[in-house]
């Protein structure tokens, strides 16, 4: 018994898996309408948008040096507005607009990365500043001069823009199969099989040692912040397509939720520690929790509260168990 107990404490994945299963069983038994094919497949689409942002936070936090990205919500919003304005107001070709939007996300992430890695400014400060800047730019982009000086949402998209957020393949949402899963697989390959992963964990756990063993710390950090921009951009595109509207306040508060999920998934806030499997499980747990609570008729305002409880509770429990094990 003792060894099983120890394993659960030490192995974050196992701990999360058990948490996931417990929630799944509780909701299946206790909540009507939860355990249906439609609901189980349908809810996965909500996990994608937050999930991409949580993966972005994972990469950035892993890189250490106080790594964090407070600007993901703002990047998402600006990308959504760029895509929306290009399609809905400028009448540009949707595919081209989406490409421009995603390039904008890459660019924003790259700017964060340059400031963090080359100018050596702390990530919290860089991304706090860019949170303000990108959010402000999104508001400015959203202004339609024909209708006065106020930012306005864009909702007149052509039908073919909705495929990524609203179509299904075999009952499973398109964005889960063709964006989220590939992203997970690519990141898994990058982190676990490719040299980049070793560099990233090296830089995150011991910057000096990584530097002396010939790893370019600046380049690794530049890459992860740029990737965070790319993932936020994908998320912005998907949300816009799903809700059929680009709104200048769409990504408000997402950064906190994304960081919460990454940390819940076992990413050490100090860097260098954490796995993609853990974060994906974290996404699954939160998606499940949101969905189950909604079906159970619990008011939406408790979603955030439960997110907070799960975060603090799971880390607290972990610490408690670890402390007890020492005796």
């Amino acid at each position: 018994m003792k060894s099983v107990f120890n394993q659960i404490v030490e192995n974050r994945m196992l701990f999360l898996l058990i948490l996931f299963l417990i929630l799944f069983v509780i909701f299946s038994v206790g909540v009507r309408g939860f355990f249906t094919f439609y609901n189980l497949t349908n809810m996965t689409q909500y996990g994608v948008e937050l999930g991409l942002l949580a993966l972005a936070e994972m990469l950035v936090i892993l890189s250490g040096g106080g790594g964090i990205d407070l600007s993901v919500g703002s990047m998402l919003t600006l990308v959504a507005m760029v895509i929306g304005v290009l399609i809905g107001r400028a009448g540009l070709n949707p595919s081209l607009s989406i490409i421009i939007g995603i390039l904008a996300g890459l660019g924003m992430g790259c700017v964060n990365g340059i400031l963090v890695s080359y100018l050596r400014i702390l990530p919290l400060i860089v991304t706090l500043a860019s949170l303000y800047i990108y959010k402000s730019l999104a508001l400015i982009v959203a202004v339609d001069p024909r209708f006065g000086p106020n930012p306005m949402p864009v909702s007149n998209f052509p039908e073919n823009f909705y495929f990524v957020g609203q179509f299904r393949v075999g009952g499973i949402p398109f964005q889960v199969l063709f964006i989220f899963l590939p992203v997970i697989l690519i990141l898994y390959f990058l982190l676990e099989k490719h040299a980049f992963g070793r560099y990233l964990y090296g830089v995150g756990s011991n910057e000096k040692a990584a530097l002396f063993s010939g790893i370019s710390v600046t380049r690794v950090r530049l890459v992860v912040y740029t990737l965070a921009g790319l993932l936020s951009a994908l998320s912005g595109w998907i949300i816009t397509s799903r809700i059929a509207s680009a709104r200048p306040d769409i990504g408000l508060g997402y950064e906190m939720q994304a960081i919460t999920i990454a940390v819940l998934g076992g990413v050490n806030i100090k860097g260098g520690e954490g796995t993609i499997g853990g974060v994906v499980l974290g996404v699954a747990i939160i998606t499940l929790l949101y969905n189950g609570m909604q079906l159970a008729g619990i008011h939406q305002i408790w979603q955030l509260g439960s997110l907070g409880l799960v975060l603090v509770g799971s880390v607290f429990l972990n610490q408690l168990l670890l402390a007890r094990r020492k005796f």
Binding site: L122, I125, A129, K135, S136, L137, G305, V312, Q319
Partner: protein
């Protein structure tokens, strides 16, 4: 405290002060209203809450921690104060309740960090969400408005031409600057942030010090919540959202190192002034409110880059 002139000019406070002066000159030359009494009063009243909260946040960050739950705590204490005000409780009771609300959550944060050994960003990120949910529940989706005038003197009253809330902020800043520089617990806060192992070995009570900074921050933010109600007369479900970023921006702009061990409360006050003066000037210049974030963000970066260039690559 005896530093040479060269040292002063190299300090972060000097950069920020310089920026404030330059901006003040620009705004007084380009707008007629900037130097008017009503505008300056308005500026100071809006600053007071941020400045008071920044006192606690400075100490938290000096210990190497962070508190992102202050926006939710501000909202919560506004709700408590607002509800009691509407029920016509005496001002003393309301003052006590607002501060106690903040203290309660601050103490809870501090306990989880100090005794639970959970990283501060995780504790306060969790509490940010939990407190916001509780607040929604308490308000039931409604607003509180039409607060009776008894309390509004804290928000709008003046003494010697300076708003009362700003007087309170200044007194608190003076007291806590003395406290941080000269009291044993104040020094312990720096010690914890500089080298926690060394602090422990030299007999600093780590848990007590850490608990103290979070509890104090809660209290101060609770008081800032009361000022908010007194100033605006309205409490909404989203009162205080994003406030944490404003306070952290002020503290960081003021030169407190996010890595801990370094920083001053006066610096944070200057940081709060800088953010406040930019917001104010932009309104007067009729710059669309949309670009406010653009300017604040750019200024945070500029002031930090100036420091980086000065320190020649030393990590700040």
């Amino acid at each position: 405290m005896n530093m040479s002139r060269g040292q002063f000019f190299r300090k972060r406070e000097f950069t920020v002060l310089g920026l404030i002066v330059v901006l003040a000159i620009i705004f007084s030359l380009t707008t007629e209203r900037f130097l008017s009494v009503s505008n300056l009063t308005n500026l100071l009243v809006q600053l007071a809450g941020t400045a008071i909260s920044a006192i606690g946040m400075t100490m938290v960050i000096i210990t190497g921690g962070i508190d992102v739950s202050v926006g939710s705590i501000l909202g919560m204490s506004s709700v408590v104060a607002g509800k009691l005000l509407m029920a016509n409780f005496p001002v003393v009771v309301i003052l006590g309740a607002a501060i106690a609300t903040g203290l309660l959550f601050g103490f809870f944060n501090g306990s989880l960090v100090a005794y639970g050994k959970i990283p501060p960003i995780i504790v306060t990120l969790g509490m940010l969400n939990i407190i916001r949910s509780l607040l929604f529940q308490l308000l039931g989706g409604r607003w509180i408005s039409g607060v009776p005038p008894a309390i509004r003197v804290i928000g709008l009253g003046k003494w010697l031409g300076i708003p009362i809330s700003m007087w309170i902020a200044l007194i608190l800043i003076l007291f806590f600057t003395y406290f941080l520089n000269s009291r044993p617990l104040g020094r312990a806060i720096y010690a914890v942030g500089n080298n926690i192992e060394a602090a422990r070995v030299s007999g600093v009570n780590l848990t007590r010090t850490i608990l103290f900074v979070y509890a104090l921050t809660g209290m101060l933010v609770g008081f800032a919540g009361l000022i908010y109600v007194a100033r605006t007369g309205i409490v909404q479900t989203n009162t205080g959202t994003g406030f944490e970023l404003e306070v952290i921006a002020a503290v960081v702009l003021g030169g407190t190192s996010i890595l801990g061990g370094k920083g001053t409360i006066v610096g944070s006050l200057l940081g709060a002034f800088l953010v406040g003066i930019i917001k104010n000037g932009m309104v007067l210049l009729n710059v669309p409110a949309l670009s406010e974030g653009l300017v604040i963000g750019a200024l945070i970066l500029i002031s930090v880059v100036i420091d980086v260039v000065r320190a020649r690559g030393e990590r700040i």
